[in-house]
């Protein structure tokens, strides 16, 4: 099924089979929950932010290959980044998913790397929600950390 190869790229299946940063973090790390009401997927994002830097991040929950791989790749890229950079990456990712427009404000040096492999999802609009579930939950977590 050639077409599906676009969606299920090797790097995605790899993150799905051997997720990075899967697990939980104890307090004072924050824990934020997200769900996709359509399919029942649930995710928890654990965040440890010190001095405006994501010191550590973990995720747990259940979901399809796309949501799990996307969360795994997300944790890998945001770890060690400043909150501003994390937000910029998130914006770039949402641009990749065509749910935000590129208004030119995302710094040019923000690269998504492996995550670009999720581009194939765009052809399957119902799966976009799976791909962004982890990211939206992360952003929600950041917002409550800020407050």
């Amino acid at each position: 099924m050639s077409n599906l190869e676009d969606l299920y790229r090797e790097v995605i299946l790899d993150h799905y089979r051997t997720p990075r940063n899967r697990g939980e973090l104890p307090p004072p790390a924050t824990c934020t929950e997200g769900t996709n009401p359509l399919c029942g997927d649930e995710i928890k994002i654990f965040l440890n932010v010190i001095d405006g830097i994501v010191q550590d991040v973990r995720f747990s929950g259940h979901g399809c290959s796309i949501s799990q791989a996307s969360a795994s790749m997300m944790t890998a890229i945001v770890k060690g980044k400043s909150l501003a950079d994390v937000r910029a990456v998130a914006r770039r990712f949402k641009q990749l998913m065509t749910i935000e427009e590129d208004d030119g404000t995302t710094p040019a040096d923000i690269r998504l790397g492996d995550i670009e492999a999720l581009q194939g999802v765009v052809k399957y609009p119902v799966r976009i929600k799976c791909a962004v579930l982890g990211w939206n939950t992360l952003l929600q977590g950041l917002n409550s950390t800020d407050a």
Binding site: T35, L38, C39, Y124, V126
Partner: protein, 408 residues
């Protein structure tokens, strides 16, 4: 004529219908409008080539159907200039929209000591839901009276609005044709700290609507009166209000989580759309919006002003004191809806004789009994026009009324 009505009529198969070898003159559009081919065809085509459940399944067909459904929501949002399509809730008709408002917003916000303000020219859909709730919750219902020339008497509005939490009123009377100063009334409501709820059933199909310019907080209207299918209505409301309102109907599609102990609900607009929605009908409504946009709502309004003028003169010139038109005389202040008394003949008999000439008018209380009582009639005959109506319809009405005279 502003519009090319002949070309428009050709798109409405019902208008080509004949009874006893003679054309019909449909003058009941305030009740429900006919449907152009493009709406009928959009529904058939969708059922033949695109039908799938929406919002729940994730295969290609379901995804495409969901996109078509949400696309129609966007069209409707643009049609009334809503800030976001999240503010557009699909209901089954405007009546459900008003019940949603009363049961969700009203139940959460109205109690003993509170008051809402309605007007004497409301349709039952904007009366009974409030009365049902008031019986339980004990709030007060106040009423804006009418002037002698069938306008709202707004002279004591500020006083009536004192302490009121919601001002709910029709933008155009379905009996009198009166167009109310919606923008000013919304502003007055806000000045008094009340929200403004607009029953747009009679105005949205007939003139351009801009909820932001009007300054309304909520707007209810029905698809079937604006060239769209039956089975779907709309509630638009400002996002902040909808966010704060509890859900109305519970079930699939409106939840986020359900356990044996309780549930949490989904985001807007899904929170208010429980169960399988009228998928095909929403697609049809989208096609109706396209159709109306293609013609232009300002052109529709201009056509109806011209026709109102024509009808007013034709009726009064021929029948003088034999006809009493309940409604404003200035066509700029009214829609093309004429309620009238013809001599002392009962409206049912008037409509019966007109029907013999294929002239279709409604006789009755038009779901506005409090207003009828004010007019001092149990019933009126009502001729109401739309973008596909023309002088031939008016002429047929005028002519057929002659026959009423000869029988009674």
């Amino acid at each position: 004529m502003t519009l090319n009505v002949a070309a428009i009529r050709q798109q409405f198969p019902m208008l080509a219908k004949q009874i006893n070898g003679k054309p019909i003159h449909y003058l009941d559009s305030a009740n429900s409008s006919h449907k152009p081919n493009c709406v009928i065809d959009a529904m058939s085509a969708f059922m033949r080539e695109g039908y799938a459940p929406i919002g729940r399944s994730s295969y290609t067909l379901a995804g495409e159907a969901s996109a078509a459904y949400e696309g129609a929501r966007t069209k409707v949002a643009k049609f009334i200039n809503a800030r976001s399509s999240r503010e557009v809730i699909f209901t089954k008709n405007a009546t459900e929209s008003m019940n949603l408002v009363a049961q969700s917003w009203g139940r959460a916000n109205l109690g003993k000591g509170d008051a809402i303000l309605l007007t004497h020219m409301e349709h039952h859909a904007n009366i009974v839901p409030w009365q049902m709730l008031a019986k339980e919750s004990g709030f007060e219902i106040r009423w804006v009276p009418l002037t002698k020339d069938f306008q709202l008497d707004l002279s004591s509005l500020d006083q009536l609005l004192r302490g009121v939490k919601a001002f709910s009123f029709t933008s155009m009377s379905n009996v009198l044709g009166t167009i109310n100063p919606t923008r000013e009334m919304c502003a007055a409501a806000h000045a008094a700290g009340a929200i403004a709820i607009v029953d747009g059933c009679q105005s949205v199909p007939h003139m351009a609507t801009d909820v932001q310019a009007l300054g309304a907080d909520m707007l209810a209207f029905s698809s079937h009166k604006m060239c769209g299918p039956t089975g779907v209505g709309v509630l638009w409301a400002r996002e902040e209000l909808l966010e704060a309102m509890p859900p109305f109907l519970g079930g699939g599609g409106m939840i986020s989580e359900v356990s044996l102990d309780g549930f949490t609900y989904a985001e807007l607009p899904h929170k208010f759309e429980a169960g399988t929605p009228p998928i095909v009908e929403v697609i049809g409504l989208g096609a109706a919006v396209d159709f109306l946009n293609g013609i232009g709502m300002n052109e529709v309004r201009r056509h109806e002003i011209e026709l109102t003028n024509y009808a007013y003169h034709a009726l009064t010139q021929r029948y003088g004191d034999d006809i009493t038109i309940h409604g404003p005389t200035n066509p700029e202040l009214r829609g093309a809806t004429f309620s009238f008394a013809f001599r002392d003949v009962h409206p049912h008999d008037v409509s019966q004789v007109l029907d013999q000439h294929n002239v279709c008018v409604r006789a009755g209380h038009h779901c506005a009994k409090p207003l009828m009582r004010l007019i001092g009639a149990n019933a009126t005959a009502r001729a109401s026009m739309y973008l596909y109506s023309d002088e031939s319809d008016v002429d047929a009405l005028v002519e057929a009324l002659g026959d009423v005279s000869s029988i009674f």
